[in-house]
């Protein structure tokens, strides 16, 4: 034991360790404060938190779980991007290759199950926030950021669903995007769309309606794949990441995790 202790001290007192973790082992209150303040990642937290807010039985840790799963998706997603080309020639075979060739290949599994888990975690997080009444003042705005995050989470999942380019993928997206056809006033088959005319010519048709804008064509095809790929890997994750930063910032600015007044 004494040996172990001296090894530990040796490491903690080495120049390398000290250059990374400025404060050393946070064993005094002063060092505990500095440990949180001095780290970019930890300083997302306040220095001190309500005891009731730290309880797992209060938050269910679901917000944290959603965020952690988002990180899991980011890392596994990046790895998948090394193998995947978003064109109809390659998309399916790349996934097939990944499954047959990549050693210890569970990245695709982790990415897919992580996505499912994230959707469920976000729902449970919203459920918890509702049940503790944490959307009430002063947290109304953060609830709204949360609702947008929920929508983005679903859209992330939805755009990702197409990428394997198998039967499951294109038909699920077909069913999902068919709804856009019925957008009132903006979809080819939506109510009122037929009334938008220039003389005798219908302005809203299958070649320019809401569905066309969503999938980049009259049916699911190469441009849909590219469109969803860009949305899935760039646009939505960046937007979600940005909103998460605001979300966490606001949790702190609204007085930390909620508790009875």
């Amino acid at each position: 034991m004494a040996n172990l202790k001296s090894v530990q001290e040796g490491i903690v007192n080495s120049q390398i360790w000290k250059s990374v973790f400025r404060v050393g082992i946070p064993n005094t209150n002063r060092k505990r404060v500095l440990a949180v303040l001095g780290s970019l990642i930890l300083h997302l937290h306040p220095v001190k938190v309500r005891r009731s807010g730290v309880r797992m039985s209060y938050t269910w840790c679901m917000g944290g779980t959603s965020f952690f799963l988002f990180l899991v998706e980011t890392v596994t997603g990046l790895l998948l991007m090394f193998y995947y080309r978003p064109t109809i020639e390659y998309a399916f075979t790349d996934i097939l290759d990944l499954r047959e060739q990549a050693p210890f290949g569970i990245m695709r599994e982790m990415h897919r199950w992580g996505a499912h888990a994230m959707v469920i975690a976000v729902w449970l997080h919203m459920f918890r926030v509702f049940m503790t009444g944490s959307y009430k003042p002063p947290r109304e705005f953060n609830w709204n950021i949360g609702v947008i995050l929920l929508v983005l989470t679903l859209l992330l999942s939805f755009t990702g669903y197409l990428l394997p380019w198998d039967q499951l993928a294109i038909w699920a997206i077909t069913v999902g995007s068919n709804m856009a056809r019925a957008t009132p006033g903006a979809g080819n088959e939506g109510p009122m769309s037929g009334l938008i005319k220039l003389g005798d010519i219908r302005l809203i048709h299958a070649g320019d309606d809401a569905r066309f804008a969503l999938i980049g064509g009259r049916s699911i095809g190469p441009s849909t794949l590219l469109r969803f790929y860009v949305l899935h890997c760039m646009v939505i994750p960046l937007a979600a990441g940005f909103l998460m930063a605001i979300h966490f910032w606001r949790v702190r600015k609204d007085g930390g995790i909620s508790g009875p007044l």
Partner: protein
């Protein structure tokens, strides 16, 4: 015998099981969370409802079966009265549910659907929803008792005490991360991600299903046209969620679990989240087979199952069946009853604001009252349409094919 067969058939129809679930859900929540006089009142209301089902059931047969099942379940659950939130009772319920699930897995038809890789997380979600609903309501119940006895909610005993983020919060987070990492790795090794044949735009699978989290919306397509089910209602769900903090001005129940202080908010939210959203997803995942036909959990998904299309429009019921006249040519005349009905439905809020709901109107103020009640009406449109479909085979209330406007 025929009675028994009828009974089972009726109860396994999509909308009946939905109706049953709805009322049982309301019963469990309200009866078990409340105490004293209010509890007996709620009990009386539910008995009145059941009686109504049975009495009307002699004319509209399916309601009779529903009424009977309803009373059986009421009887079984009322016995719990408050004990539902006991840890041991909760554990027993969980074990019972897990055992029922495990036994069901022995059935080949059930196994085929429940063990599909993409369906596994949804199966897990059912249990998670159950467990977390129970936890939240249990905590609410315990806090309610404290408050009723003049005490403070449990959270209050700890909320003034501050802990250092390091180590308390950081360690909890790390524990969660390690646990989750293990779960994700085990899950990923145990269950392969599905990959079907390469995409083929010319051969559509049957059933063609949207991604699982949108199956509630796809299920709504049974009752509403795409412009409502796929565009307007989803938009209103998002708008409605965002509006919650601005409509609900009740200052109580902020930062702790409670039920009695916010019965209506929690009742409506749970109804929307659990019954309308989650249950419809579960139906869409596990109980909708080829041609989007309804299949019981142990039924074989027969692609040739024939379901007679007997749905009729309100205009036909009224003009042809009741008045014995041919349908008028002019749509505004043909659909006049339906349009009036929809308008009447939408004018409920102003009418109710005058007298019975005056209290709410004054407390919330005009804008909050109207936004809130219209959102509520749109939400309730779904179960109402489900019930009408089930009882009267009603297809459309308003059917104006001329401009694709059907409700």
């Amino acid at each position: 015998m025929t009675f028994l067969k009828d009974f089972i058939n009726t109860l396994s129809a999509a909308s009946t099981s939905f109706l049953l679930l709805t009322s049982v859900f309301a019963f469990v929540v309200f009866f078990n969370l409340l105490e004293g006089k209010i509890r007996s009142k709620v009990g009386a209301i539910f008995i009145a409802f059941g009686t109504l089902f049975v009495v009307v059931g002699f004319a509209v047969r399916p309601l009779l079966y529903l009424g009977i099942a309803y009373f059986v379940i009421l009887f079984m659950l009322s016995n719990l009265g408050g004990r539902l939130w006991d840890k041991r009772v909760g554990l027993r319920l969980l074990i019972g549910a897990l055992a029922a699930f495990g036994l069901s897995m022995l059935d080949p038809n059930f196994f085929l659907i429940a063990a599909k890789p993409d369906n596994v997380p949804i199966g897990a979600m059912i249990f998670l929803l159950g467990i977390f609903t129970w936890i939240a309501l249990r905590k609410a119940y315990l806090n309610d008792r404290q408050l009723a006895a003049g005490g403070i909610p449990w959270e209050k005993t700890e909320s003034d005490e501050k802990l250092f983020t390091w180590p308390d919060l950081v360690y909890t987070e790390m524990l969660c991360m390690i646990l989750l990492t293990i779960v994700m790795i085990v899950w990923s090794i145990a269950l392969r991600a599905p990959l079907e044949e390469a995409a083929n735009p010319t051969s559509s699978p049957n059933p063609a299903k949207a991604p699982w989290y949108f199956l509630g919306l796809q299920e709504m397509l049974v009752y509403f046209d795409p412009w409502l089910a796929g565009v307007v209602l989803p938009t209103l769900i998002i708008v409605g969620l965002m509006a919650i903090p601005y409509i609900d001005t009740n200052p109580k129940g902020n930062g702790y679990y409670s039920f009695r202080e916010r019965k209506w908010e929690i009742g409506v939210f749970l109804y929307g989240f659990l019954v309308l959203w989650s249950f419809l997803i579960i139906t869409g995942t596990f109980l909708r087979g080829p041609n989007w036909n309804f299949f019981g959990p142990f039924e074989y998904w027969d692609p040739n199952k024939l379901v007679p299309l007997v749905n009729v429009d309100l205009s036909e019921i009224i003009w042809v069946k009741l008045l014995g006249m041919p349908l008028p040519k002019l749509w505004i005349l043909r659909e006049s009853f339906g349009i009036l009905l929809v308008l009447a439905y939408l004018s409920l809020p102003p009418l109710l604001a005058a007298k019975p709901f005056r209290r709410f109107y004054l407390k919330m103020g005009g804008p909050r009252y109207y936004v809130g009640s219209f959102l509520f009406l749109f939400m309730m449109a779904l179960p109402i349409k489900m019930v009408l479909r089930w009882l009267f085979n009603l297809k459309y209330i308003v059917h104006i094919q001329e401009i694709f406007f059907n409700i």
